[in-house]
């Protein structure tokens, strides 16, 4: 079984990328791949609670991210530096993610068979 890491690095509503990447990862998980997700750079904004997508006539991404658990995608990570740069408090995020420092991040990336970031 391939270990695949999807790297979410775009803000939630600035483009179609986060939604399309989420769709791709849910399908990969449904196909039985071992999928994990890293939120990095502006992607950490996806983890903010109380998102109201309807204000933009969009689906709320944070609500869809809750579905990851149903697909047994439980390995969720956030980059500590990305959170810190944006002044985000890791104890107040919408998902239960593991926050990784640079060394842990390096190991995570090294452990993967495939990386997806677009």
């Amino acid at each position: 079984m391939k270990h695949t890491l999807f790297i979410q690095h775009h803000a939630p509503y600035g483009s179609e990328s986060p939604q399309e990447q989420l769709d791709a990862l849910l399908v990969a998980a449904a196909f039985g791949q071992k999928v994990s997700v890293l939120f990095q750079d502006d992607g950490v904004w996806q983890l903010l609670p109380q998102q109201e997508g309807h204000a933009l006539e969009r689906r709320t991404l944070a609500a869809q991210l809750q579905a990851l658990e149903l697909y047994e995608v439980n390995a969720l990570y956030a980059d500590a530096a990305s959170l810190a740069e944006r002044g985000l408090d890791q104890s107040r995020l919408a998902l239960n993610v593991q926050v990784l420092d640079a060394a842990a991040l390096k190991k995570l990336l090294g452990d993967q068979d495939l990386l997806l970031r677009f």
């Binding site: 769709d23 791709a24 399908v27 990969a28 449904a30 196909f31 791949q33 970031r117 677009f118």
Partner: protein, 129 residues
Amino acid sequence: MKLTLLVTAAPHQENAWHALAFCKAALARGHDVQRVFFYGDGATHGNSLLLPPQDEPDVAQGWRELNESHALELVVCVAAALKRGVMDADMARREDKALANLASGFVISGLGQLAEAMMEADRLVSFPG
């Protein structure tokens, strides 16, 4: 080596050109590129109505040539394609649209094709916009 390519760059973006050049180089070196998956804005590669100026590269035409010479599968994601106005004849009929515009050489299919190609590939190479 078995390669899967994922193109999310639109045809007018630089990475779209890099994807094609990379694919040609990989095939020339004897690597096995089985499938190119066009997703996100990359789905517009399948639009046959694209007409780049004569002094600019025609990336979609380049892919079509590889499809013919190497039987390379060019798969466009259905959800991304519909959202961006790319459809084949069956879809146009079903959606009651006046025309179908999927370029020859390309096929429209689902994200499962990407997942499947990822499982079979040694490397996944992505070309984001």
